[in-house]
Symmetry: C2
Subunit: 162 residues, 2 copies
DNA sequence: TCTAATTAGTTGACGAATCAACCAATGTCG
DNA sequence: CGACATTGGTTGATTCGTCAACTAATTAGA
């Protein structure tokens, strides 16, 4: 068992448990992103692009307007246009201007995109199960609850703060 | 209470709890990074640069070799050289080649760097306490334990995998 | 209807991250 | 001692992320 403190080679204990929690959280998420990146990178896409593809697969054949995709992204993504530009260049996504509201651009996943996602479903499920095998179902539920409330707290801090 | 599922506007439930956990984890950490960024950005530095400064403050007057800093970073940071280049340009960090082993470059935080950190200590503590006020001490300890084991699981996956 | 405001998305400029190649200093071993 | 490997760090090329300014389409209001 590697504590975050040892892992960072710090001599002194953390000034506070809350700070330790924030550091542990970001560090854990960074590791998770690296694991995911190791899976998707051999197929020529980034984690962000992978998320877009999954969102579009979930959206079905009618597709989704560009900014709706940005809203559903796991991480905040201001550069959604160029992110999808790259997916379109790889033929994994197609775009079409909406006829009724010509401001909107609907994005759809292509068959190639679906095929690529299909090649990632099993490995990503395996990786996640492996990583999460160290904790019990009950702890998993606890984790989800705690994270929900953490985001709540930060949201009120962010949205109320400005 | 906003569940991650509602927040992402997904109709269907997650395929698995584990996947939901990974998404929640990354999303929560992204929010935390944004909160921190909102604090440090007005002072002209990034979250990564803030972390380097804190590491160097912890290291004291003797400073730390460049790659030792990279090791202690919260997130993996391949571009540590240029990151410190920018801190040096802002006069927040000074560098000096080690006389006994001329390969190493020792980095030290400057008085200006310390002053800047000082201006951030109180706000960052407040932000973290606010964000974490929604969870109890006991839950905080649980969270830390769970995150530790998650990182363990991912480490063995990563390091064993390649 | 004509103007102003809002919404949807794109583009340009620039800072930052990433990977590989590289150089210099040191350590190792015959 | 001399060749090779390792360690510590920097640099170049490329991609990516980010902010602000911008265009185009739609809606709202006088």
């Amino acid at each position: 068992m590697v504590s975050i403190q040892k892992e960072l080679k710090q001599q002194r204990p953390f000034p506070s448990k809350t700070q330790e929690a924030v550091v542990a959280l970001i560090r854990t998420a960074d590791l998770a992103r690296r694991v995911m990146n190791g899976l998707v990178e051999p197929l020529g896409i980034t984690v962000q692009q992978y998320n877009v593809l999954r969102i579009l697969r979930g959206a079905g054949v009618e597709g989704l307007p560009t900014l709706d995709i940005a809203e559903r992204m796991i991480e905040q993504t201001p550069g959604i246009t160029r992110l999808i530009d790259r997916l379109e260049a790889k033929q994994l996504v197609s775009r079409e201007r909406c006829p009724t509201d010509r401001r909107q651009v609907f994005c759809r996943i292509t068959p190639e995109g679906l095929a690529l996602l299909g090649r990632l479903d099993a490995p990503s499920a395996t990786a996640q199960n492996d990583a999460l095998s160290a904790i019990t179902k009950k702890e998993l539920a606890q984790l989800l609850g705690i994270l929900d409330r953490l985001r709540d707290g930060m949201h009120t801090y962010l949205d109320g703060g400005q």
